[in-house]
Symmetry: D2
Subunit: 282 residues, 4 copies
Amino acid sequence: MNTINHENFKLSSLKHNPTKKEIKIKNAVFGPNEIQLIMGPCAIESEKQLEEIANEVKNFGIKIFRACAYKPRTHPYSFQGMGEKGIQILSKIGEKYDLITETEVTDTRQVKMVSEKIDILRIGARNMQNFELLKEVGKINNPVILKNGLSSTIEEHLNAAEHILSKGNPNVILCTRGIRGFEPLERFTYDALSIPILKTLTNLPIIADPSHPTGNKELVLPLARAQIASGADGLLVEVHNNPYQALTDSKQQLNTNELPNFIEEIKKVAQATNRKIDLTKK
Amino acid sequence: MNTINHENFKLSSLKHNPTKKEIKIKNAVFGPNEIQLIMGPCAIESEKQLEEIANEVKNFGIKIFRACAYKPRTHPYSFQGMGEKGIQILSKIGEKYDLITETEVTDTRQVKMVSEKIDILRIGARNMQNFELLKEVGKINNPVILKNGLSSTIEEHLNAAEHILSKGNPNVILCTRGIRGFEPLERFTYDALSIPILKTLTNLPIIADPSHPTGNKELVLPLARAQIASGADGLLVEVHNNPYQALTDSKQQLNTNELPNFIEEIKKVAQATNRKIDLTKK
Amino acid sequence: MNTINHENFKLSSLKHNPTKKEIKIKNAVFGPNEIQLIMGPCAIESEKQLEEIANEVKNFGIKIFRACAYKPRTHPYSFQGMGEKGIQILSKIGEKYDLITETEVTDTRQVKMVSEKIDILRIGARNMQNFELLKEVGKINNPVILKNGLSSTIEEHLNAAEHILSKGNPNVILCTRGIRGFEPLERFTYDALSIPILKTLTNLPIIADPSHPTGNKELVLPLARAQIASGADGLLVEVHNNPYQALTDSKQQLNTNELPNFIEEIKKVAQATNRKIDLTKK
Amino acid sequence: MNTINHENFKLSSLKHNPTKKEIKIKNAVFGPNEIQLIMGPCAIESEKQLEEIANEVKNFGIKIFRACAYKPRTHPYSFQGMGEKGIQILSKIGEKYDLITETEVTDTRQVKMVSEKIDILRIGARNMQNFELLKEVGKINNPVILKNGLSSTIEEHLNAAEHILSKGNPNVILCTRGIRGFEPLERFTYDALSIPILKTLTNLPIIADPSHPTGNKELVLPLARAQIASGADGLLVEVHNNPYQALTDSKQQLNTNELPNFIEEIKKVAQATNRKIDLTKK
């Protein structure tokens, strides 16, 4: 096995900066002691849809609400997201329900506007090495969730984070979301060693996405359990109040009525690894 | 995502045989309610070495003792295992310490002799599609642990098991041990969805190997936790009383003095998923 | 094996548009009868360096001159390219030597400016699914070379091309540049079936990059031979007049003094597959 | 990129033995100057079928006739080959038509018998690391064709060859047959750099299999062209006189009536790389 050059990610390297970083945003913390659950629909489809899901998610104690306005879509002729209009809706719903908001940016030209309206920005797998976009979110101060690329190595993921950190934004959260593999029965292969290895290398918080690898909501809970057990500091989960009607990713979104059981099961694995889930108190 | 043809693994298909199988061997059970820990050194190096490790493993309540006499070695000029002499040692130690024994077979000509001396036979990754060997272990009655191939699909793993089952041996236990990937910082990539998907398809017990993917003993515990959390019915773990002196796999074998903590941590994740570890009572 | 949905790339689908497309730019043609050689250094380092290489390349009859001003770099602390200043130099040298110019764009904000100064724009592997960038180069009329992503499927490559075509730019040239694999002795794995399969599906011209998979200039010629033999309509080759001093990719750039032999050898394989290389006449 | 330890394959290492090896068998030579075409059906189905194909293949000047009696089959309930009866048929046909015979062995217990009846033995991809089988064919003197494993590295392929060489059989021919990849439109991914890299490391002859990666006979010729252009010393091609009736691999076997064109096209690429095909003179 190979070694890795810590100089190329010195700002997030445990070797150079051995204290695990805590990233705070409003009433939520990303760090080694608490597990953040970020939930919401894949795409913003309408104000009504978003509000219904926000209301349910809020009731279960979730602090961070996710939804996409800019959708990177493989097929040019499928729904591409609501764009700026969607950002306005998400911002409004976030304020109304006192939820921290999270969304994806896909172009340098979106960054300033989105960073003023939304709390946390996300860089998706397909843009992990869109270096101009990385540099642009390096100039703001909002927390940025950086997913690994479809076939990125752990070192490349850390180097991509360093592109952001080196421009001045210290608030980077890594997210492991699976890699391209050869298994026909899954959408992506989730490497169970990715978080354990990252934890030995970097001080950044690391969350995991249990939705995208599966392509099948029955597999989301067992995968999420494995991710938490392997050390994930949080989960980014797609939930919908009517998954079969969803405009995107309909097969892998959990139904909001499955959330109480999901949260309960994750709580047990969190406790088994000496951590707790960061939920709002009732 | 693709579908899978259940006719090609009908004997182990949940669709054809929906009851989860329990495989009993002496005082141990492989099945949905109990987690088996199989432990022991990578290779049999001498009677003295084997006896010392057996003694320690036994003291921690482990029921099944593993050790290899036939080593499939990538390099032609490295230690190839003790062969039949090693089998005799393992058999003797098993009897002396009242441990169930487990070892790998690598050639059709070994099967009869080994099956008479050792309780459980294992087919390693490199022989998962050595079909003549599969057919040969299909003619005995000992439990057979079948590891997935280095780049086998889930369907191919099930088809390989069916080669054994269809020859008359009903006692097949699957073992997931990671696949070849592109990540330079790990030895193999462990696909966290492999067990959740297998569990939806087959009635066979499924255990996991946390040692081989890592190549690094610091990563064995977090990976083992993820495997148990994802549903594994057991673990196959390399342990040694002096890992740095081991003739093979020296970097990934746990030290026997690390076992109490390892077992304690796995117990917690087992409980968090409503199962318990099958240890001997003191 | 799977089938593919031609509706998602209908503009370039042979099923919908069965005539192989010819793309002309000045005195060069991309299409089924002629092989284009695009050559030049990885990065623009200075006007002097660029002019020396342009002069040599021109002398060998090459029509299209490549060089990067915007470099997507894995490491945040390595040379990031000369930017707009580099574009001006390339444009000036192109005019002076009557060479068609080709360069990479990495951000939507570069497209308009670059498209006015440079003949052919390239989208690199890391931006193959940077959909905003694809849409932006879909609004211009310059030929666009679209490389496959590091782990993209053939269908995803065609879908990415369709993002450009569907915005109105009909001049898309595909380029195969290798995928991420597990082989430690190469930089990327070049799938020898990628061009033969693409040729059965699309009417777009397809060129190949023999430089990036190798990471070693000794392997560039045998790979280039294989690419031409498998049907490539052209090659995109990194050449430098002083490779060991190059600021980027120093090990894989051919030396300009190796070009006569390289071109001679490629000519023979082109003839063996009934095509010829499109060089300027002397 | 990594380096490789030449000590582990010293018998075939160019560093230790810099002269390219020639392996002669009857009137055929494997080596750097001549290209061997090995052709025949995937499986021996009957004496009549085999004789018809042998007759045609012989007429086209082919010297080596391939056919399998022992079939490694993924599915336990599909045709497993004719076994020893098939070996007898192949031997008889070989003598009658004065063809060198080639077939696969899949078990140590077959080696002696097959080596007495058949000229060249083959180890398939699934047995590349069946080390007991490698050692067994190391004890005979027949040429052995060793295919790479489904996910073997180049170094592992060379190490597997060394297992044979180190037991005393100097007549090893490597064969590249593609690796497991993620592309849904092909059966296996053929790495175009595999032969160029092997050629820099080993003195063994290296042939290529254009049939198995494709799963589609339309793609066999373009892949074969690429393999020869990249330096292959021969091809192992599946041909059948009635492919659609074949019991195995029906979609990827060339029809014997396509052979004249296939041979003609390969001849041109061979000449373009300064070699010729080793055919019987008429």
